[in-house]
C-alpha cells in the first residue's frame, strides 16, 4: 500500500448500484468518474461524486476511518467498508477497470447503498442476550480478572457492527434464521468474559438452537470480510469448543457428536472416513453408531444424496466400506498431535488456540520479543511457548484440540 502514497490524483470510474424505492423502478447502475489520489478511499470517491454530480446518492457514512461501521457496502462483489478500501486496490480487483459498488447482501435494500440492518443484523444481535450478566455480588471496585482475558474479549469488542460478515455469510443465505457471525462473535464477548455469570446458559442456548453455533459451515467468508480482524468464525469455533469440552453440552443438533466423530476418525485413520462420519455424528461415536435409530433415520433421509454421489462416482461402495489409508509414519505423526493435546495439563485449563488478533499478519516477530497470544492460555496462564513440532518459525501452531466439522447441510 505504501507505494501508492504520494502519487498524484487520477481519474477513477465508479459504477454505483442505485435504487429509488419511490420511483417504482427496478434498481439500476449509475456511473461517475472522479479524480483522487490512488490511495484515497472508495468512500471519498463516492462523496466526491455526491458533492459534484448527484447529491441524491444514498450511503450511510460518518467517521471516514473505519470505526463507526456505517459504510458497509460490496466493492466488486466483496463486502467492505467503503472508507477502508483504497481506490487503486479496488480498481485492481474490478472486472473491467470500473469499481462496482453495491449494497450489502443478506439484508433488504432501503435506498441505493443503504440496507435495513435492523431487520436482520440487529435482530440477530438481540437474540444472543447481548449484555453482561455480572457475577454477584458486584464488587465495590472493579472485578479482578486476568489481564489476558480482557485483551482476549477486546477482539470481539472491536466489532464495529458494520454487517460485512452478515453480508457475506453463506450459511445465512441458506438458512436466513442462522444467528450468524456477528451475533455469535458478540456472544463470545460474554462467554469469554470472566465477569459474566451465565456462561453455561448462554452456551447451551446457542448449542441447542438449530440456527445456532452449529449452523456455521466453517467457510471463512466472515473472516475475510471483517475489516477489524474480529475473526467471527474463530469465535464461533471457540464457542463450540467451550460448550463441548468445558461444559460437556450434548446438543440436539448433533454438533457435539459430530465433532467427536470427526476427531476420532482422524485419530484412527489419519484422514477423514466420510462414510462413517454421518452415522457416527447421529448415532454415537463408535462403529456401532450406524445401528442407532437416529442414524437410521438420518441415513434414510440422506439416501438421495448418497445415490447421487454413487452415480457421479464421488464414492464407490468399496471406498465407503473401508477407510482411506496413509503411510504409517504419517499416521504416527497425526496421532502424536493427539497425544500432545491429550497429554496437556487440563487442570490449568490451558487450551491451545489460534489467535491472530494481537499478532497481526505482517511478519514474524523478532525472536527476542515473543508476540503475545500466539498461544493463548484460556484461564489466564501466561502466554505459553509454542508447542514444539506443531509450529514452525514465524507460523502459528495448528489448532489441534478440535478438528471442527459442521453439521450443516
Amino acid at each position: 500500500m505504501a507505494e501508492s502514497h504520494g502519487r498524484p490524483p487520477e481519474p477513477f470510474t465508479l459504477r454505483l448500484r442505485r435504487y429509488d424505492p419511490e420511483s417504482g423502478e427496478a434498481p439500476y447502475w449509475d456511473e461517475h468518474t472522479i479524480e483522487l489520489e490512488p490511495h484515497r478511499s472508495v468512500l471519498e470517491a463516492i462523496l466526491q461524486a455526491r458533492d459534484r454530480f448527484d447529491g441524491s446518492i444514498g450511503i450511510r457514512c460518518s467517521c471516514r476511518q473505519a470505526i463507526c461501521g456505517s459504510c458497509g457496502v460490496r466493492v466488486n462483489g466483496e463486502p467492505a467498508l467503503a472508507c477502508h478500501t483504497h481506490l487503486d486496490a479496488a480498481r485492481r480487483s474490478a472486472r473491467d477497470g470500473v469499481i462496482e459498488i453495491e449494497p450489502m447482501g443478506n439484508m433488504p435494500v432501503i435506498k441505493d447503498l443503504i440496507v435495513d440492518m435492523d431487520a436482520v443484523h440487529w435482530k440477530k444481535i438481540q437474540r444472543v442476550t447481548p449484555w453482561l450478566i455480572g457475577k454477584q455480588p458486584v464488587p465495590e471496585r472493579e472485578y479482578l480478572v486476568p489481564r489476558e482475558s480482557m485483551v482476549d474479549v477486546t477482539q470481539t469488542m472491536a466489532c464495529i457492527q458494520c454487517g460485512a460478515c452478515v453480508s457475506d455469510c453463506l450459511a445465512m443465505e441458506v438458512d436466513p434464521l442462522f444467528i450468524g457471525p456477528a451475533a455469535l462473535a458478540k456472544a463470545y464477548r460474554f462467554v469469554g468474559d470472566p465477569r459474566d455469570d451465565e456462561h453455561f446458559v448462554r452456551l447451551n442456548d446457542l448449542a441447542q438452537d438449530q440456527h445456532g453455533m452449529f449452523d456455521c459451515t466453517h467457510c471463512f467468508k466472515c473472516v475475510d470480510a471483517c475489516p477489524k480482524d474480529v475473526n467471527p468464525m474463530g469465535q464461533i469455533m471457540r464457542l463450540r469448543r467451550i460448550a463441548t469440552a468445558d461444559h460437556h453440552i450434548v446438543d440436539q443438533n448433533n454438533g457435539e457428536r459430530h465433532e467427536a466423530a470427526f476427531a476420532s476418525l482422524i485419530r484412527d485413520n489419519g484422514l477423514l472416513w466420510e462414510a462413517e462420519l454421518l452415522p457416527r455424528s447421529y448415532g454415537g461415536n463408535s462403529w456401532l453408531g450406524k445401528f442407532h435409530p437416529r442414524a437410521g433415520k438420518e441415513l434414510i433421509s440422506s439416501l438421495p444424496s448418497i445415490v447421487k454421489a454413487l452415480l457421479r462416482g464421488k464414492v464407490t461402495p468399496m471406498g465407503a466400506l473401508k477407510p482411506h489409508r496413509i503411510p504409517k509414519q504419517d499416521l504416527k505423526s497425526v496421532q502424536s498431535i493427539y497425544e500432545r493435546i491429550d497429554g496437556r495439563d487440563r487442570s490449568s485449563g490451558q487450551r491451545f488456540e489460534l489467535n491472530l488478533y494481537i499478532v497481526g499478519e505482517d511478519e514474524p516477530p523478532p525472536p527476542e520479543e515473543p508476540v503475545v497470544a500466539a498461544v493463548v492460555a484460556e484461564a489466564g496462564a501466561s502466554a505459553a511457548e509454542p508447542p514444539g513440532g506443531l509450529a514452525t518459525e514465524g507460523e502459528q501452531p495448528a489448532e489441534p484440540t478440535s478438528p471442527e466439522g459442521s453439521t450443516s447441510e
Binding site: A2, R50, S56, C61, G69, S70, I114, Y143, T154, M157
Partner: protein
C-alpha cells in the same frame, strides 16, 4: 403524539448515559438520534477516560490538572463535581461490562496522558470510546422496555412554549420522510460538537453542531465558543486522529532536524504537555520551516520507541490507521502528523446538572459548556464529561418530570413550518451554489482564520465571509427530491446549523483580546487575567432580529488561583 418524561436528542455516550440514569429513576425515556446509536461519534474516542482510581491518586490532583489545563477558564465547582465523581463512574462502566485493560494484578490498568500529573487514564486498547459506546448500547437493548429508541430521526427544532419552557421537538423520520412532533416534559441535548465546521477535522461527517444551533436559535446562550481544540496528532492528508495514547505510551515528536522540539516549550512534560501547548509548538516548527514532508507541513510522531509488542496490544487501532490511511508501519518508522481540529470546548451554557437557560432544556457532553474544559480540554476528560454530566442531566430531568404534568402546547404550527421549510429546500431552483460547495468553503475558511493562531484581520475576514455564506446558504440547492433517506436535504439543514456555530465561534474569538488556552491571538499574545478571566457568552435575544449579543459571565474559582502555566 409521542410523549415522554425525558426526551434525549443524540445517542452517543452522553445521551445513552442520560437515558439509563433517567430510566433508573423511573422516568419514561426516549432517545432520538439521526444515526444508529453505535455510529455516534463517541465511537471514535480512542485513548481513554481519566479518573483518580489509583490508591495513590486523589481527585483533587485530577481537578487541579484540569483547572491548569483549562488555562484557568474552567469553572472549578463543576470541575470538582466531575473529578470527584469520576472513579464511581468508571467503576459503574466496568460493572456493566466495559472491557478495561488490566494490570498483572487484575485491576484496571492506567496509562499516562497529556497534562496529567500521574497515570490516571483507564483504557480499552485504543478503542475506549467504542467499547464504552457499545456497552452502553448493550444496556439500552437490555432496557428496551423502559427506553424507547427513535433511531435515524433528525431533529429540526425545539418546541418552546410562551413561558419560554422547552416542551418537545419537531423531527423527521429519515427513513420515511415523515415529520412528527414529540412532546416531552424535558429535552436533553446530547448531540455532540460541531467539528464539521472545520476542514479538515477529526470529527465524523455527522458532527454538525445541530444541538448547539437549535438551542442558540431557541434563545439559550452559548459559552466559550472561541475555544476550539486542535489535536496535536492528526494525519496530514485526511485529518484522521492518531490517539494521544501514542504519546502516553512514550512516542516522541520530531522536527525535520530530528529534534524533540517539545523541550523548548515544555521541558518537563515534553510530548505530554496539554494539547494547546503541543499543537502550538508543532505549528511554530512548521511555520518556521522545520516541518517534515514534501511541503514541510508535517511533524514526525515516532512510535518506534514504544516496544513493538506493547504497540500491537495497546495501540492496535493506530497501527491499522497508519497502515491503511498513510501507508506507514508505525512500529517500524515515524508517521507524519500535524495539528487538526478535534473538539470544541464551548457549547450550550449549562450548570452542573445540565440545565440551560431555558426551563426544561438540558445539555450534556460536547454540545454543552459546563464549563469543565475552559480554554483547553485535557485528553481523556471528554469521555468523563459525557458520562458524569450525561448521568446528572438524566437524573435531574427525571426528578423534575416526577413533579409536573405533560406540557400542553399546540405544536401544529411549528410542525407545518418545519415541513414547509424542507419542501422549500427541495424545490429551490438551481441558480445558487451547491450545499457541498458552501460547506467546503466554510471549513477551509475556519481552518485558516480560526485555527491555532488567530488575529483581528483574519477573524474579521472570516466573519465577513461567513455573512456571505449565510446568505448563499439561503438558496443553496440540492439534487434529491425524494422522501426516503433524503440525506441531501438534511445536509442543507445541517449547513445552516454549522454556519450558526461558525459565526458564534468567530464573534467570540474577536471579542477575546488575549491569548488563553486554545485561543492564541498573535496580536494579543499574553494571557490577561485582569480583563479576560471571564467567560464570553453569546446569545440571540428575543426573536434574534438584533443578531448575536455578547455578554460575560464570571469564572468560578474555589481553591486554585490562576498561576503562570508551565509544563
Amino acid at each position: 403524539m409521542p410523549a415522554h418524561d425525558v426526551l434525549i436528542i443524540g445517542a452517543g455516550l452522553a445521551g445513552q448515559r442520560a437515558a439509563l440514569a433517567a430510566a433508573r429513576k423511573g422516568a419514561s425515556v426516549a432517545v432520538m438520534s439521526k444515526v444508529h446509536p453505535v455510529r455516534s461519534h463517541s465511537v471514535a474516542a480512542a485513548g481513554g477516560i481519566n479518573a483518580a482510581i489509583s490508591l495513590d491518586d486523589d481527585w483533587h490532583s485530577h481537578a487541579y490538572d484540569t483547572v491548569k489545563g483549562s488555562d484557568y477558564l474552567g469553572d472549578q465547582d463543576a470541575i470538582e463535581v466531575m473529578c470527584s465523581e469520576a472513579p464511581g463512574e468508571v467503576m459503574e462502566l466496568e460493572h456493566i461490562g466495559v472491557t478495561f485493560h488490566r494490570n498483572d494484578k487484575g485491576e484496571l490498568d492506567l496509562r499516562a496522558f497529556g497534562g496529567a500529573s500521574m497515570k490516571r487514564t483507564a483504557y480499552v486498547a485504543d478503542i475506549t470510546g467504542q467499547a464504552m459506546l457499545h456497552v452502553l448500547y448493550e444496556q439500552l437493548m437490555k432496557h428496551h422496555e423502559t427506553v424507547e429508541l427513535f433511531e435515524e430521526w433528525f431533529t429540526t427544532s425545539l418546541l418552546i412554549d410562551e413561558a419560554r419552557r422547552c416542551c418537545g421537538v419537531i423531527a423527521r423520520d429519515v427513513r420515511s420522510g415523515a415529520m412528527e412532533a414529540f412532546k416531552a416534559k424535558n429535552v436533553i441535548l446530547a448531540c455532540g460538537g460541531a467539528g464539521q465546521v472545520y476542514k479538515p477535522t477529526t470529527n465524523g461527517l455527522i458532527v454538525t453542531g445541530d444541538g448547539i444551533a437549535m438551542a442558540y436559535r431557541a434563545g439559550a446562550p452559548l459559552m466559550d465558543m472561541e475555544m476550539v481544540q486542535y489535536h496535536p496528532t492528526c494525519l496530514v492528508e485526511t485529518g484522521i486522529l492518531i490517539t494521544e495514547g501514542a504519546r502516553g505510551e512514550g512516542a516522541h515528536l520530531l522536527n525535520a532536524a530530528g529534534e524533540r522540539f517539545m523541550e523548548k516549550s515544555a521541558p518537563n512534560k515534553m510530548e505530554l504537555a496539554s494539547r494547546d501547548v503541543v499543537s502550538r509548538a508543532e505549528q511554530i516548527e512548521i511555520n518556521e520551516g522545520r516541518g517534515v514532508g514534501p511541503n514541510g507541513e508535517g511533524i514526525y510522531l515516532d512510535v518506534t520507541v514504544v516496544p513493538r509488542r506493547r504497540t500491537l496490544e495497546a495501540l492496535r487501532e493506530i497501527v491499522n490507521l497508519g497502515r491503511d490511511f498513510a501507508g506507514v508501519d508505525i512500529t517500524r518508522e515515524p508517521i507524519m502528523i500535524r495539528p487538526g481540529q478535534h473538539y470544541i470546548m464551548g457549547g450550550v451554557k449549562t450548570d452542573a446538572d445540565g440545565r440551560t437557560a431555558i426551563e426544561g432544556l438540558y445539555a450534556a457532553g460536547e454540545v454543552a459548556c459546563v464549563s469543565v474544559h475552559g480554554g483547553n480540554r485535557l485528553g481523556a476528560n471528554s469521555l468523563l464529561d459525557t458520562l458524569v454530566f450525561g448521568r446528572r442531566s438524566g437524573e435531574h430531568a427525571a426528578d423534575r418530570a416526577a413533579h409536573m404534568g405533560m406540557p400542553e402546547m399546540d405544536s401544529g404550527a411549528r410542525l407545518l413550518e418545519d415541513a414547509a421549510e424542507i419542501e422549500a429546500i427541495i424545490e429551490r431552483p438551481r441558480d445558487g451554489r451547491r450545499v457541498s460547495e458552501i460547506k467546503n468553503e466554510l471549513g477551509e475558511l475556519m481552518n485558516r482564520y480560526a485555527a491555532v493562531f488567530r488575529d483581528e484581520d483574519g477573524l474579521q475576514t472570516a466573519l465577513e465571509t461567513i455573512g456571505r455564506l449565510k446568505e448563499e446558504s439561503q438558496n443553496a440547492w440540492i439534487d434529491d427530491r425524494g422522501t426516503v433517506f433524503n440525506q441531501d436535504v438534511l445536509g442543507a439543514i445541517e449547513l445552516g446549523y454549522m454556519i450558526d456555530c461558525a459565526e458564534a465561534t468567530v464573534i467570540s474569538a474577536i471579542e477575546r483580546k488575549e491569548s488563553r488556552g486554545a485561543q492564541f491571538r498573535t496580536d494579543y499574545p499574553e494571557r490577561n487575567d485582569e480583563q479576560w478571566l471571564k467567560h464570553i457568552d453569546i446569545a440571540l435575544n428575543g426573536d434574534g432580529a438584533g443578531g448575536p449579543q455578547v455578554s460575560y459571565s464570571p469564572v468560578t474559582i474555589t481553591q486554585w488561583q490562576p498561576e503562570e502555566r508551565t509544563y
